[in-house]
Symmetry: C2
């Protein structure tokens, strides 16, 4: 018997090439965005020919779709306060190492309609969970604001690299944001009682 890693079978090699292409695509899409990324550049970074990328993924759009596939980031349900804390935990993880797939989606969402749709779709479950947990007439707006804050902070840290945000520790950031999130997630005290 031969070691499975000694000489990869054809199917293995195909998967391996696909994965190398996808990794290169994720990185370049995340760095340059959809429009400035060329199939040739992705192929070159993956060490293959541009034709192969087309052969495996069909088109640039389909390659992008595969590259930015990201698991829906579900929040554990609970009270509004607990959900706010869960959102902070999610934010802390994303502040340290946001995966390239998410960055690629973020980078392209303003200039590519398809990316914008995927971004909206990816954020939708979290948005719904937030809206549901915040029992208030303006829960929709509060959830939208929380989402906007999260993505604004991530974008300015990882994409724009504003020094004010890029140099700070995740703990420092979420500690400053915690009261904001709690306030936004908590219904006004006039009609609802906390906890």
């Amino acid at each position: 018997m031969t070691e499975p890693s000694a000489r990869p079978t054809r199917a293995q090699q195909r998967l391996q090439s696909e994965e190398r292409i996808l990794a290169a695509a994720r990185q370049i899409f995340a760095e340059l965005g959809y429009e400035r990324t060329t199939i040739r550049a992705v192929a070159s970074a993956a060490g293959v020919d541009a034709g192969l990328v087309m052969h495996y993924f069909g088109s640039k759009d389909l390659l992008f779709a595969r590259a930015v596939e990201v698991p829906a980031d579900e929040l554990p349900g609970g009270t509004s306060g607990e959900v706010a804390e869960a959102l902070l935990t999610s934010l802390r993880r994303r502040l340290t190492d946001e995966p390239a797939a998410s960055l690629a989606l973020l980078r392209s969402m303003l200039t590519n309609a398809d990316a914008a749709d995927r971004y909206r779709a990816a954020g939708k479950p979290q948005l719904n969970q937030l809206t549901e947990a915040i029992s208030a007439p303006d829960a929709h707006l509060r959830a939208g604001l929380l989402s906007a804050i999260v993505h604004g902070v991530i974008a300015e840290r990882h994409l724009l690299r504003l020094t004010h945000l890029a140099d700070a520790s995740p703990e420092q950031i979420i500690d400053l944001l915690r009261p904001c999130f709690q306030t936004l997630a908590t219904a006004p005290p006039t009609s609802g009682k906390p906890s």
Copy 2:
């Protein structure tokens, strides 16, 4: 004497054409971003030939630079609370009618390095004023967070058009954000006393 508007002089006509081109450029840059905007499309929208755009502005980059020129948005100084309120006022204005020049800059900042630089430069004075007003060791970070929130909300409302944010009234948004801004602008109570 002839009415000055009856037949415009040559200099007037040039300025008029330049302004029409700039207006078209601002709108298209704001809608599509830098890369998807073509000089031909701008020229067509302005009712002129593409060559004229080059003739007047030199290159696409220079046209973009002229199109996104936006006056630095200065905040009136004061205590941290007053500055936070001024930032809210600025936000309210930008929520109703953000000028196309600013939207063009926002739209392109993630995919165009030059736009990113201009964005950073445009936000710098406001960022400095915020940092100065917030007397705390982490003033830099707090100012950065405030800026990130403002731009995140504007981007998701005007560029991404997330329904949660696009449908809300500016008053509702800034009322929800006010406690967040006050909290972020106010130094921790352990060492500083408010007002």
